[in-house]
Symmetry: C2
Subunit: 391 residues, 2 copies
């Protein structure tokens, strides 16, 4: 059997990270280029705050947890300088995007810009404990908590009172962010937050009858028979399940871990394309047509997060099903997403697994899901492989 932890670590260190080190740094405008074509050439210079922050987080975290290479810390700080200088409006909300030199392009309508900014500065503070980094992370985090009931603010187009839904993405991200922020928050805040997000994810969004997690539910947690209410995003669910497993480890709660494994496996069975392989992007729990025209596409992050989830599920519970899914996902992902010729991984495949857009970085893909997943899988499996010889 193969030594997967080495394969994943090798891919991270020798392929993926060098690609971003070489191509994404903007020496002139500051921060990172987000839009890189197949070979790494910059095809657009706009800067998306989600992605700038995520790249800061990736380099800071590699420095903290993989190896303290000075060039990684320097790369993280290069992005953080740009974010600190240009990223926020007067109220401290993070813009959605800026042009190359930092002028705001799109207003702060999207709270996930703030989530990834606080995650970035929290990780950077670990690497370089400057008080200003901690302050940005904490201020931003407080602002997220303040905005969480109406994250879109005045840009919210829903008419109030007719069909008030809550969305899965924010509790899902908060479950990860609360661990990322733990060193900057007091214990009571973290404990309360963890309890609340676990309840939201595992009781409210989780549906007992189907065993699946919905993207949107009514405020009281009940099912909304509408486009938004019927929507399932298997990748979101599976990613959230490894966030929850991390909480299970943190809280020493094997029952929670067991439930996460069960939900993740059910979601994989449900979301797997029996005809062409790979995991669908969007589905309707009643089998109706979805509004998302990209529903049948195969996205990089979905498959990478599923690899992490199955690796953790196997490592934490020894589940054979998790191991088998890991191997199936590994085969699909490395065959279809990895670019043997120009390095890094493709983002968007069509249903058949053919490349749909030949970019390595774009409005939503950056130096984040690929390296984070490679890092996570390598680390999780190395512990198991030491025990069991090899996977």
């Amino acid at each position: 059997m193969k030594n997967y932890s080495e394969i994943y670590e090798q891919e991270l260190i020798s392929n993926v990270i060098p690609f971003w080190m070489k191509h994404s740094k903007d020496e002139k405008g500051g921060g990172y280029f987000n839009c890189l074509d197949r070979t790494g050439n910059v095809f657009d210079t706009d800067k998306f705050m989600w992605l700038q922050a995520r790249e800061v987080w990736t380099f800071a975290t590699l420095y903290n947890e993989q190896e303290a290479r000075p060039e990684w810390l320097e790369m993280a700080k290069h992005g953080a300088d740009f974010l600190e200088q240009h990223g926020r409006d007067a109220e401290g909300n993070w813009y959605f995007s800026l042009e190359q030199f930092g002028k705001p392009l799109v207003q702060p309508y999207n709270i996930f810009s703030d989530c990834f900014a606080s995650m970035a500065f929290a990780a950077l503070y670990k690497a370089d404990p400057q008080e200003k980094y901690a302050q940005i992370a904490k201020d931003t985090f407080q602002n997220i908590l303040k905005r969480q009931q109406n994250p879109k603010g005045k840009y919210n187009k829903a008419y109030p009172g007719t069909r008030d839904l809550k969305n899965f993405a924010l509790p899902m991200i908060l479950s990860n962010l609360s661990l990322e922020m733990e060193h900057l928050l007091d214990k009571q805040t973290v404990d309360d937050l963890l309890k609340a997000v676990i309840h939201e994810v595992m009781d409210i969004f989780y549906q007992q009858d189907s065993g699946l997690i919905l993207e949107n539910v009514n405020l009281d947690g009940s099912f909304s028979d509408s486009f938004d209410g019927r929507l399932i995003n298997p990748g979101h669910t599976i990613e959230a399940m490894w966030f929850m497993m991390d909480l299970g480890v943190r809280l020493n709660d094997p029952k929670l871990i067991g439930r996460c494994v069960e939900i993740a496996l059910r979601t994989l069975e449900y979301g797997w394309d029996k005809e062409y392989g790979g995991i669908f992007y969007f589905m309707d729990i009643k089998g109706h047509p979805v509004q998302q025209l990209e529903w049948d596409q195969k996205l990089w992050w979905v498959h990478l997060e599923a690899l992490v989830c199955m690796a953790k599920g196997y490592a934490l519970t020894g589940s054979v099903a998790c191991k088998e899914w890991f191997l199936r996902l590994h085969e699909y992902s490395w065959k279809h997403f990895r670019d043997e010729e120009h390095g890094e991984w493709y983002a968007y495949l069509n249903r058949r697994g053919e490349v749909l857009l030949p970019l390595k970085g774009g409005k939503w893909k950056c130096c984040f899901h690929v390296p984070r997943a490679l890092f996570q899988v390598a680390r999780v499996l190395s512990a198991v492989e030491e025990e069991n010889d090899r996977l």
Copy 2:
């Protein structure tokens, strides 16, 4: 050779209109069901204002121009009653969507709801000259003109001043709407408006060097090298070219018609998928990856509007290229979009021309592009066929 005008008229009268007459009327909630599956079953009851208004327009226009069947007028008024009663906020802006019984769901952020509402009531007024219909059409039209500099109002997320772009869709729709509204407006208003929209479409959005039309340009008409600025929507261009041909006829301007034919043909060559056939949905004028994941899909309206455009181009100029493109588009569209088994046409195909979503009505497809195109092609070609025997 076939008698295409008869084929298109037959399809309109015996297949498409009966489908909507049978399945889309909501006797309980008022208005129309928009979301119909392959067989015509209602799979969602939300009501989208674009689509409600467009169905009113279609039935009113068929009554006015095809045949004065009382059931068509009754169907138009059934939708108009619902729109009149529930469609607007206190300022007269049209909501984007309502739930089944008329409670607002999504705020009036989208000015095209207003465009199609004024078009609907203007057509209905021709069929049934009640003053209130004219008033709604005129009030809405004035409101559109008032809002046209910032159509999204407070929902506009662009940061002002960094990259102010103008979008092609509004001048394009106004070029059609000004003819649809002509019987309700004074001559000077129409003349000024026609002059302005022809200038916008044919001089500002049209790019001399490429011979193509861009979806977004800087306020001064120059090219913006950004995702939005590089975007081409071939279907939009081709649809706009038949709107412009109608203006060419109205203004007795054969030079304008000639330019429209030229641009439409160039756009078809540019947008045609040489590998699998059909017209791409979105493209980047520099060949870079677009943000729209659905870029390579084949959409019903794109192909139907292209059929209308080529039929008009052929009828007005005798262009052999238009005739050949009409025949090629006819073959592709009838083979891939038409549902032989359950009637009406599919909306969304993947790049290979396979059905991507098996709906007949959804958030964006309703009783509009299919019947309007069938009606237009039948009428345009019947005049030519009388002269030339058959196409």
